[in-house]
């Protein structure tokens, strides 16, 4: 008997798994595109070039363009510090890194409202200097940065720990400075993992709903990101437009998946070669 032959119970299990997958993952994805195109390509395109939709797309891109680089830098630094150095408070830092994963995004958003909002701790001070954070773009960026903070660091820490400090010590023993070591040895060693982390970070930054919803204030054409815009359109029974914008997010998800798979293959190859 070849192992490839499926007996009946196995076949049933495989079918059940595939059925589940189709029902809960594939079907919703298909529905998004079907609903978006229900009234034809014209309506679909019109929904996307609507000024409010365009503004939401712009804002989402802007937020991602700020929060991803910020988390790239801080994530790399945090991972570097944790993996390559010993210092007091290290385990505390690791715990804090995970905080955004363990806290509900809504709570995260709420924290920013409580700190920076008009009634918040820094509210009067901010008002005195005419700085608007909550219900404005800075608040959305802050909330997104918070929620997406762990992605890069979490991806890099295990990788860097596994690689150890030998390469860095070798570079130092050859006369390299700390910065040269970091740029020419540490970073290239983790480049695929880093790219992978950035990709996930970006997907989450563009798709984040909860935290952003709390701090955004839902001002149309001003502080609505794509996920928030989808919700508003849906609540107004404007299904075609809602699904049209949602289809863009779905495309982003699909693109992320493809890139992620490609990166994983690359990543594992380069790791195995070592």
């Amino acid at each position: 008997m070849s192992a490839r032959t499926l007996d009946r119970p196995r076949l049933a299990l495989v079918l059940a798994a595939l059925g589940f997958l189709a029902l809960f993952l594939l079907l919703p994805l298909v529905v998004v595109f079907v609903e978006a195109l229900r009234q034809g390509l014209g309506a679909y395109a019109a929904a996307l070039v609507d000024p409010d939709a365009l503004s939401a797309i712009r804002l989402t891109l802007l937020v991602a363009a700020i929060s991803v680089p910020v988390n790239l830098v801080f994530g790399v630094l945090a991972a570097w510090a944790i993996a390559k150095f010993d210092f007091p408070g290290k385990s505390l830092l690791i715990t804090f890194l995970d905080l955004p994963f363990s806290v509900s995004p809504v709570v995260a958003g709420l924290i920013y409202v409580l700190v920076f909002g008009a009634q918040g701790w820094l509210g009067p001070w901010l008002e005195a200097y005419d700085i608007q954070i909550v219900f404005a773009v800075p608040g959305i960026v802050l909330a997104t940065v918070f929620v997406t903070f762990p992605f890069v660091a979490r991806e890099l820490i295990p990788l860097m720990l596994e690689q150890g400090r030998d390469d860095e010590e070798a570079a130092l023993s050859l006369g390299a400075s700390g910065l040269q070591t970091f740029l020419r040895v540490t970073l290239p060693n983790v480049r695929w993992g880093l790219l992978y982390g950035v990709l996930l970070c970006n997907a989450r930054a563009m798709g984040e709903f909860g935290a952003v919803s709390v701090v955004s204030g839902h001002l149309r054409g001003m502080t609505n990101t794509m996920p928030l815009h989808v919700e508003i359109l849906y609540n107004e029974y404007n299904f075609v437009a809602a699904f049209a914008v949602a289809s863009l997010l779905a495309c982003l998800a699909l693109l992320t998946l493809v890139l992620k798979t490609a990166l994983e293959a690359r990543f594992h190859n380069s790791n195995r070669k070592a």
């Binding site: 390469d167 130092l172 023993s173 006369g175 390299a176 400075s177 020419r184 070669k273 070592a274």
Partner: protein, 323 residues
């Protein structure tokens, strides 16, 4: 000359080095030999400037370098697992030390390449410069690591278990090759090993370490023939312990007619050009092994023979207690 004075180092509560002194002569090939946990690698890292002692001083040619970082000490360090930069070609790996120098002291690109290829020729890897570390065998990687360390013209070469990750055959060839290379260059070198054979074969002098202390420093001959302690006798070469703290090498035991220690023969096999006899020392719960010349007829299993040491060392019955 390198001098270590009262080097002490602890990791948390664990004392890794307990105040040791050591002098290394210029041009010497020195082995740090000991079991794992003896502190030999820690000592090597302290000499390199990759670790720092809690107390004590490190002197290079009379100059105190205790607080200098590894980059400032001009040492070449070869890591146990080579630590080659896997995203760089072999030539770039070898040239790395030159390419990170400050602009004023940095040779041109072409000069760095030329130097890298020169060194690759030296380690017999000419022509492999454009490959990546993943495309080389273990022994080749080892030699790349060596060439890379030599590229910065160190005043001292340090090797951490240089043959630890290689199979027996490659290990032997590389060992001989490294010995020759050292003769050629005369560069002061220190290597760490837990393999006594390696230490005895390569080193001018062997430093035997145990539990953060130096047990004995001497030539291979001295360490083997005149062990300073029961530990050295036991760790370097094979040793049988007979009653009364008598330590004796298996090849220094002979069979006598009846005035010796009775041994019940348990196993006899060929080892090298000799018979190796294993047996139980009668009246003691202890195994002994000894060698007989191959022209002799070996005793049969279960037979009782009487043995006598031809040459021995006596150490007080200090049964070593495990840490």
């Amino acid at each position: 000359m390198i001098r270590l004075e009262g080097i002490t180092k602890a990791y948390g509560d664990y004392p890794a080095l307990k105040g040791l002194d050591l002098s290394v002569r210029d041009g010497e090939f020195l082995a740090l030999l000991g079991p794992s946990g003896s502190g030999k690698t820690t000592l090597l890292r302290i000499i390199a400037g990759l670790a720092f002692p809690d107390a004590g001083r490190v002197l290079f040619n009379g100059e105190d370098v205790t607080d200098l970082q590894v980059a400032e000490r001009k040492v070449g360090f070869v890591f146990q697992h080579y630590a080659l930069f896997k995203h760089m070609t072999i030539a770039d790996n070898v040239g790395f030390g030159l390419s990170v120098r400050a602009r004023r002291e940095r040779p041109g690109r072409a000069a760095i390449r030329a130097r890298a290829h020169e060194l690759l020729d030296l380690v017999q890897l000419g022509g492999l410069g454009e490959r990546y570390p993943a495309q080389l065998s273990g022994g080749q990687r080892q030699r790349v690591a060596l060439a890379r360390a030599l590229a910065v013209e160190p005043q001292l070469l340090l090797l951490d278990e240089p043959f630890g990750a290689l199979d027996a055959k490659v290990r032997k060839t590389l060992r001989r090759w490294l010995r020759e290379l050292h003769k050629q260059m005369g560069l002061t070198s220190i290597f760490v090993t837990h393999d006594q054979e390696e230490a005895l074969e390569l080193a001018d002098r062997v430093v035997v370490m145990d539990q953060g202390r130096i047990e004995q420093i001497g030539s291979a001959e001295q360490v083997y023939m005149e062990p300073a302690s029961a530990f050295v006798a036991d760790f370097v070469g094979e040793t049988c312990v007979l009653p009364g703290g008598v330590h004796v090498r298996p090849h220094d035991i002979e069979i006598v007619s009846d005035v010796g220690h009775p041994v019940v023969v348990g196993n006899v096999f060929r080892k090298g050009g000799m018979w190796r006899v294993e047996g139980a020392l009668a009246g003691h719960d202890r195994l002994v092994e000894f060698d007989l010349e191959s022209r002799l007829v070996p005793p049969g299993l279960g037979q009782t023979v009487y043995i006598r040491p031809r040459r021995m060392k006596i150490f007080e019955a200090t049964e070593r207690n495990a840490p």
